[in-house]
């Protein structure tokens, strides 16, 4: 199945070459979790501060269990803030 990955700020360098506007589609197996995508893309765990699936925050201990579904948007940021 296909999911959409979005990597921002300093994580942008881990995007596949065909990414546009920090987004790319990724073919993954059924039952894939955010943690599996993170390791497949080689993202340093420490840099994956904010992980959102369809805009909803996934806490660090949920990333191992949350099962992604076809068409899900997985967005990841390093520690950032603003105001």
């Amino acid at each position: 199945m296909k999911i959409r990955i979005k990597l921002y700020a300093s994580l942008a360098e881990y995007l596949p070459a065909d990414a546009v506007k920090n987004e790319a589609d990724l073919e993954v197996n059924d039952g894939t979790t955010p943690t599996q995508v993170i390791s497949r893309l080689g993202l340093p765990e420490r840099m994956c501060h904010m992980v959102l699936v369809n805009g909803v925050y996934i806490a660090p201990d949920e990333r191992l269990e949350k099962v992604l579904e076809e068409g899900d948007h997985l967005a990841i940021w390093p520690p950032v803030a603003g105001g």
Binding site: K6, Y8, A9, S10, A12, K21, N22, H49, M50, L52, N54, G55, V56, Y57, A59, H73, A75, W77, P78, P79, V80, A81, G82, G83
Partner: protein, 615 residues
């Protein structure tokens, strides 16, 4: 120590400048800057005063840490009754002006009355005088700053001034210092303009003393180590600035779009930090040139940007082909998502104009968004706009109106009324996205519930900087809470409000609070200032300041009925994203908040609360 223990009182009507000692009893209860200046203000000014009358006063105030070597300790605030809101106003700015003022030996400058003709205040340490500004009236912030430095033949003078918008009564004019740092909100620059005060120019070389130098250096160094070691203040903010939030908040479904009709903007990426770093086609260079820091800041979140030289806004105007203050998140949101404009260069240009002519990009962009909605719905016509096609998404309309508003001319003068008066004028007050007359910043409270309570109860009108619960609800600082639920948010908002009032009263930047708690701040204040300063005492100061401001607003005529959000946010559910189907649950949070504050169900501090806080 830390305080200069000296105030300059400037009577503009009489043309006099007099020194007086700082009230140290009050300093012990209100610390400095926001808190202490508000105390002076409420003691001296009738709450019912017309903000633009000579009887309103305007105070520029530093904090005890301003001018010391604590990180970010260059801040000052402008305190007055806001022209936009009629409520207590306190706008905080960085840059270098606050440090200069403190080094000249002043905790505060209190302006009263109104000058007969335009003047500026010139301070060279102990020497303070009012100087004719007739030749500067009608010129921009940038030209005023240059002219003063040239006139006094000293490039090291620091200047805080108003642009033409502030002279012309644009309701949300700022006081701008160091070309692009601003005491931005609530119309503090409008009040300055009404006093015929064009600028304050300072050269200060006296130094700032502290109580226990050895202990202070240690505490300041420890504070800096915390900022450097924290991934947000040590890496995220310097590299990407506040603008990194654009994609975060859009993804979260809380990016107010087209006057809050929507909560997600399809053009968000084009106006984000990521887009600012992308090389453009014409010259291969990105919009972002570099980051920048205010005085003594070890974070350096500021953005310095250029506009594409081939862009329509600057192609024929080399004076704007410069590197200057770039987009911060709030400005990019207001000029962009709120208006549906996704042209990064147009936004950067509009932002330059906001700095050059001294007006608040948040209130401006949000007001343009409201006007665009009224235009599309047919309530405002081409005749009203002078032929400007005011459609959502039109970059040209945005930049044309930015220039008109800067000069207070044509339809720009109407946009200068702010959304509340503008929407009332055209018969649709419900389309003003504001609280107490001040426009919302960049977070939709349907998707971040705590921000609804933050906005509704902010003493200076809708504002994110009074209790930035986004930190907790979205960013997980200090602890993650769920942005979609209202439970527990009353306590969260109160805690953020009280702590923020401390940061704002100390002379340091509130962005340090992404890494610092009051545990990091208290040792710095305690080593610098006379008296003893624990976390508990500071929290009490914060709560006292909050109640002091609230009391002023109540006396000015505000009631619990003003602690409310526009119907759109409490009746019309978000259409997309995680908050789809949700409205803001203010009615659930507000009663609990009043109770936690020790206020009556009508939002009035009880006698018990007032006496507990020594008010």
């Amino acid at each position: 120590m830390a305080w200069a223990k000296n105030i300059l009182r400037v009577n503009l009507t009489e043309g006099t400048c007099k020194n007086e000692p700082l009230n140290m009893e009050w300093a012990d209860k209100y610390l400095g800057q926001r808190g202490l200046a508000t105390k002076y203000f409420v003691e001296e000014v009738d709450p019912k005063v017309d903000p633009l009358s000579p009887d309103n006063k305007l105070i520029m105030a530093t904090g005890p840490l301003t001018g010391t070597c604590a990180s970010t300790a260059g801040r000052y605030s402008v305190i007055t009754k806001g022209a936009l809101t009629g409520a207590i106003a306190c706008s905080n700015s960085g840059g270098f002006f606050g440090n200069e003022m403190k080094n000249a030996g002043y905790d505060m400058i209190i302006f009263e009355g109104k000058a007969k003709s335009p003047v500026y205040l010139f301070i060279d340490n102990d020497d303070a005088k009012l100087v004719d500004a007739g030749d500067m009236w009608g010129t921009s912030v940038w030209d005023t700053e240059d002219a003063i430095k040239q006139k006094h033949q000293d490039p090291q003078i620091r200047v805080a001034s108003i642009g033409v918008s502030g002279e012309k009564g644009v309701k949300y004019a700022c006081v701008v210092n160091d070309y692009h740092r601003a005491a931005g909100r609530s119309g503090v620059g409008t009040v300055m303009g009404a006093k015929n005060l064009k600028a304050v120019a300072i050269r200060g070389t006296k130094g700032v003393g502290v109580k226990d130098a050895g202990r202070f250096f240690e505490a300041a160094a420890a504070g800096k180590a915390v900022l450097a070691g924290n991934a947000v203040t040590g890496e995220g903010l310097p590299a990407f600035g506040t603008q990194v939030l654009m994609n975060v908040i859009n993804e979260t479904g809380a990016l107010p779009t087209r006057n809050h009709r929507d909560v997600q903007f399809d053009g968000a990426h084009s106006i984000s930090a990521e887009a600012m770093a992308e090389p453009r086609e014409s010259d291969g260079k990105p919009n972002l040139v570099r980051n920048s820091a205010c005085f003594g800041c070890t974070i350096a979140c500021g953005r310095i940007s250029t506009i594409d030289r081939t862009h329509y806004t600057v192609a024929e105007r080399p004076q704007y082909q410069i590197a200057s203050g770039g987009l911060e998140y709030e400005a990019a949101w207001a000029l962009g998502a709120a208006t549906g404009v996704d042209d990064l260069d147009a936004l950067t240009f509009a932002n330059f104009i906001c700095n050059e002519q001294g007006y608040d990009p948040i209130s401006f962009g949000a007001t343009v968004g409201a006007a665009m909605e009224m235009y599309e719905d047919g309530y405002i016509t081409d005749k009203d706009t002078g032929g400007i096609e005011l459609k959502f998404g039109s970059a040209k309309a945005l930049t044309d109106i930015a220039e008109l508003t800067g000069r207070g001319e044509g339809f720009g003068a109407e946009i200068g009324l702010g959304s509340k008066l503008l929407c009332e004028k055209y018969g649709h007050p419900e389309l003003s996205m504001s609280v107490k007359g001040q426009e919302f910043p960049a977070y939709d409270s349907r998707g971040i519930q705590g921000m609804g309570l933050t906005y509704a109860t902010s003493n200076r009108g809708a504002c994110h900087l009074r209790s930035y619960t986004v930190a907790s609800e979205v960013l997980g600082i200090p602890e993650k809470t769920d942005p979609l639920v209202s439970d527990g948010k009353a306590g969260l908002v109160k805690a953020f409000q009280d702590a923020t009032a401390v940061f704002d009263s100390a002379g340091i930047c509130v962005f340090t609070s992404f890494a610092w708690s009051l545990e990091d701040v208290a040792p710095q204040i305690d080593a610098a200032c006379d008296g003893e300063w624990s976390v508990e005492k500071l929290l009490e100061v914060g709560e006292r300041v909050w109640n002091l401001e609230r009391n002023f607003n109540n006396a000015a005529g505000f009631t619990a009925a003003d602690d409310k959000l526009p119907e759109r946010l409490v009746k019309d559910a978000a259409k997309t994203g995680p908050a789809k189907g949700l409205t803001n649950q203010l009615d659930k949070m507000l009663p609990e908040y009043y109770q936690l504050r020790g206020w009556t169900p009508d939002g009035v501090p009880t006698n018990e609360t007032l006496s507990r806080l020594g008010l």
